[in-house]
């Protein structure tokens, strides 16, 4: 197997506000977009010819991945103009694939060992994985390494073995994907017509993001596996405990306390007297002012956080400006997405480019749209659309 097709055209609509400006594959987990984990895993398994099917906000992928040279792979871009489904996306790549190829989603985080065995399997094949909550996926019935049946999103799943959306195909697959919109439907047609589909189970990492707060749990898993490095300037009196990675040109000012796993990007200005606690990822060009505590959170590029803030279990996207004494503490909350209620434990989910005045307090479970503005001394709660003005 020498080639892979990565499907990265989709938005991930349930992940708004974070996907209003970027595709799901470009969500940042522990300092890198999900797509980069997928590409790295392929490269490490010797697959360096990659067809990337892009669509929604494809420029974000072009800007980051480019020709692929810096990741050691060659990328061919194919555009899916309308995001109609995975089979439709794959069909767009017809004509540029070799005879055998892998198919993966750019929106599921994997690691090299996840597919190490699978790349040797004979097509057509599907990679399976046991998960705790299979009802959102295609549940597989497997007998002696061969797929018997795929039940899409069953109300009462027969097992907890699901389809990861990672496949090994030959060009035969296009006969089945062309008339369908989704790959599982194409596979079921194959099964009905008597074509065998092999299955292999992996115990490697395979993580999906369905809702905004899933970013935190993925980050928690992946940030534990970063490589420690201390770039930039670490002033005297800074305590660094555990696994910590600090990027180049970042300044960590006196008396700051960093307890890993923590990853901090390039060109940040942090402290003095800042406390960054486990499972936190901080992007590039971020400023964190004195006496702020950040815990189990993901902070995007160009964010500016004022003095005396408490930020827990939160995701703060690119370019937010937060003045002093912002309080976003984690806690139980009920959040409504697409008419479904979810009981979650989280702080806030803050979209891109928001601006918060001094002493804003956020109730647990706030999801605030991109480019929103909040005046000083406001209490915010619930779900707020893009460009909300809270005065």
């Amino acid at each position: 197997m020498r080639q892979a097709v990565i499907l990265a055209a989709g938005e991930g609509q349930r992940l708004r506000p974070f996907t209003a400006t970027k595709p799901k594959a470009m969500l940042n987990i522990a300092g890198k977009p999900i797509l980069e984990y997928v590409i790295e895993s392929l490269a490490q398994n010797g697959i360096r010819s990659i067809v990337l099917v892009v669509g929604y906000r494809k420029e974000q992928i072009f800007d980051y991945i480019g020709s692929g040279k810096q990741f050691g792979v060659d990328i061919t871009y194919i555009t899916q103009e309308k995001q109609l489904g995975s089979a439709h996306a794959l069909t767009q790549a017809k004509g540029v694939t070799e005879n055998e190829f892998l198919v993966l989603s750019g929106g599921n985080l994997i690691e090299p060992n996840t597919i190490a065995q699978f790349v040797g399997l004979k097509p057509e094949a599907v990679l399976a994985k046991r998960v705790n909550n299979p009802i959102r996926y295609g549940v597989l019935t497997i007998e002696e390494g061969v797929v018997k049946k795929i039940d899409e999103k069953p109300k009462q799943p027969k097992s907890n073995i699901i389809n990861t959306g990672i496949y090994a195909f030959t060009t035969n697959i296009f006969r089945f994907t062309e008339p369908e919109l989704n790959i599982p439907d194409a596979l079921n047609n194959m099964l009905t017509q008597g074509y065998p589909i092999n299955a292999q189970e992996t115990d490697g990492t395979w993580l999906d993001v369905l809702y905004p707060w899933d970013i935190l749990s993925l980050n928690d898993v992946v940030v534990r596996r970063i490589r420690a490095k201390l770039g930039g300037t670490i002033e005297t009196g800074v305590s660094v405990k555990g696994l910590v990675s600090v990027g180049k040109n970042t300044v960590m000012r006196s008396n700051s306390y960093i307890a890993g796993p923590v990853i901090i990007g390039d060109n940040c200005d942090i402290g003095p007297n800042v406390c960054i606690l486990p499972a936190t990822s901080i992007g590039d060009n971020v400023v964190i002012s004195p006496f702020t505590e950040i815990k189990n959170s993901v902070i995007g590029d160009d964010v500016n956080i004022g003095p005396g803030c408490i930020i827990q279990d939160s995701v703060i996207d690119k370019g937010c400006v937060i003045k002093g004494h912002f309080a976003a503490c984690g806690g139980e909350a009920e959040v409504k997405i697409n008419d479904e209620y979810h009981k979650v434990s989280m702080g806030v989910m803050l979209g891109e480019g928001c601006s918060l005045g001094n002493n804003v307090v956020a109730q647990p479970g706030v999801i605030m749209g991109n480019y929103s503005q909040v005046q000083a001394l406001k209490l915010i709660g619930g779900r707020l659309p893009d460009r909300s003005l809270i005065f």
């Binding site: 892009v54 072009f62 480019g66 480019y371």
Partner: protein, 594 residues
């Protein structure tokens, strides 16, 4: 403006030369050609671009050759005028970038001596001069020929039966690339990055003699050493990476370019470049020189300096500055040049140095001629720019100016802190404009049907109106003019009709009310008006036909977001009109001739 390349080694020269020429096309592309030395010299050239030449050319056998992609200065683009040029016997071939000013006289003399000329070019005299002086030592002959020549040149000479290339430069760039049992000579680094990242920059007046495993550099007949540089960037950055055009790719790179250009610079506003005069006694005035798009960055710089430093600034076009005499004393001068090779800039710099000016260069090309003439250089970290229309390099120039001036600014610390915060937010604000590209596309589709467009603004955005008009005209071929809004009534009003759209930049600063008045005047002449206005401006929508919104920023940084919006507008307009966006007709990337 031309690009030249030479190869000597063990591989077939033909495909390597054509590959390198393709990367040099930004320097000109009206014709190209190659010469390969086997037992004799075989030349193949035509009025086509490298890709077509690759398809059309017969396979020329040999491991030693030269190539050229041309930008016509003397003589029409034609097969005869394309390089390489040869001597009478076809034994010596030369490629040349530059202009020989005394070629008419030399040509008459050579014709009188019996030499036969085929082309109208200045270059052709070089192989004939070398032929004239050749007595068995090619280097001597080249030196003698160059002694006769006045003007600028970077040349590579190839001679049948000689297993080497001879190269020389004066006022035109030239580098040597060091490979493993092979070596390269090229106008610039990206041309050869597919093959090697070790280069030697030739200096003014250097002559290089290159064989497949040896480099000799001579100056005034004496052998000297030149330092080897390792290039850290890759050709990757010079590829399109998914985008249809380099221009759109480079527009989208701007958030990263801003971050890169400001890396390590904006933490605290402490000066890292030592403008000696400013430090010691404070200076009374400043001179900024530039050409083209860089001139618009310079004009923006004038507004920033006058606001933050409170000193008068004079901005001059380098091409004008070199034409007439002014009184200059030892003032501080800044020159802004993307390539660092713009001929007018280099001449102006030499003149400034002669009268004792301190010259600070802002350029994108490490090791460029400008950086070597200047007392100090600040590099914009934009990476190589391929599209002829400058976008990210302009942005990087603006960022350097902001940062440089802020580090010397005399404003109070509260204002400075808020500006530093705003500067750090620029990558995100620019990304916000880019994310809005789909909406700008609609405005562009509408604009593409017109033949004349005016761009107006006041204050710090006036240079951005000029830049917006320049971008539109150079890539979409729509006639566009940038005007200070207050000047419209002194003439251009006569041109305003319902088919003359006006694009008005409306910033939230002290020009706002005046701009609204100007827009009302224009609407009274029934011209369609497109406004560039900040998000949250409730008034503007009622006055104009359509609004392109840009994110709210501190007014002093409004040029940044407005520039990006106008770049996208120009790009999509040109695309709608089906123009060859990356290589507009009659234009070359940097102008290395006067």
């Amino acid at each position: 403006m031309c690009g030249i390349i030479g190869y000597i080694g063990e591989r077939q020269a033909h495909p390597i030369l054509l590959g390198c020429l393709k990367r040099l096309e930004y320097r000109g592309y009206d014709s190209c050609g190659i010469a390969i030395a086997g037992n004799s010299i075989n030349v193949y050239k035509n009025t086509v671009r490298a890709e077509e030449l690759r398809k059309a050319a017969p396979q020329l056998d040999g491991t030693l050759g030269i190539g050229h992609t041309r930008w016509a200065t003397h003589g029409q683009p034609s097969q005869a005028n394309a390089h390489p040029h040869c001597d009478c016997d076809g034994k010596i071939a030369v490629v040349h970038n530059g202009i020989i000013t005394n070629f008419q006289g030399l040509k008459q003399k050579l014709i009188h001596e019996g030499h036969k000329f085929i082309s109208e070019t200045d270059t052709e005299i070089i192989p004939h001069l070398i032929e004239k002086y050749y007595r068995g030592d090619l280097e001597r002959a080249v030196e003698a020929a160059l002694d006769d020549i006045e003007g600028s040149y970077a040349i590579i000479v190839l001679m049948a039966s000689e297993d080497k290339l001879v190269a020389a430069r004066k006022d035109s760039p030239l580098i040597i690339g060091l490979g493993d049992r092979e070596n390269f000579i090229a106008s610039d680094v990206p041309a050869i990055l597919d093959y090697t990242n070790r280069v030697i920059y030739l200096e003014e007046g250097d002559m290089g003699v290159v064989t497949k495993d040896n480099i000799k550099i001579r100056r005034d007949g004496i052998e000297i050493n030149r330092e080897e540089h390792k290039i850290s960037w890759s050709v990757d950055e010079a590829q399109r990476g998914g985008y249809e055009h380099f221009m759109l790719k480079e527009i989208h790179e701007q958030p990263r370019v801003i971050r890169d250009t400001l890396v390590g610079r904006v933490s605290v506003a402490e000066p890292t470049v030592d403008l000696a005069a400013m430090r010691d006694k404070g200076i009374e005035s400043m001179l900024i020189l530039a050409c083209g798009t860089s001139y618009h960055a310079a004009l923006t710089g004038k507004y920033i300096i006058e606001e933050l430093l409170r000193i008068p600034v004079r901005v001059e076009l380098a091409s004008e500055f070199i034409c007439y005499g002014q009184t200059l004393t030892g003032t501080e001068a800044i020159v802004i040049t993307q390539s660092g090779e713009t001929a007018d800039i280099l001449r102006a710099m030499r003149r400034l140095k002669e009268v004792g000016c301190q010259v600070l260069a802002i350029t994108n090309v490490v090791g460029s001629t400008a950086s070597r003439i200047a007392d100090q250089t600040i590099y914009t970290r934009a990476g190589p720019e391929i599209s002829v229309a400058a976008t990210k390099s302009f942005m990087a120039q603006l960022m350097v100016l902001y940062w440089l001036i802020m580090s010397y600014s005399k404003v109070d610390s509260r204002r400075l802190a808020s500006m530093l915060l705003a500067l750090r937010q620029m990558p995100s604000k620019v990304q916000q404009v880019l994310n809005n590209g789909y909406k700008i596309l609609e405005h562009a589709n509408n604009l593409s049907g017109y033949d004349n467009v005016f761009f107006i603004a006041r204050g710090i955005n006036f240079p951005i109106a000029l830049e917006g008009a320049l971008k539109l005209k150079e890539i979409s071929y729509i006639h566009a003019e940038g005007y200070a809004a207050g000047e419209l009534k002194h003439g251009p009003f006569a041109l305003l009709r319902s088919d003359t759209p006006v694009i008005a930049i409306v910033a939230q600063d002290n020009t706002y009310e005046a701009m609204l008045t100007n827009i009302r005047e224009i609407k009274a002449r029934s011209s369609p008006v497109i406004a560039l206005a900040e998000e949250g401006d409730e008034v503007i929508g009622g006055l104009v036909d359509s609004v392109i919104t840009v994110p709210q920023v501190d007014a002093i940084f409004s040029p940044v977001v407005n520039t990006v919006a106008l770049q996208l507008l120009a790009y999509y307009t040109a695309k709608q009109r089906g123009c060859p966006i990356d290589f507009p007709r009659n234009l070359a990337k940097s102008v290395t001739v006067e």
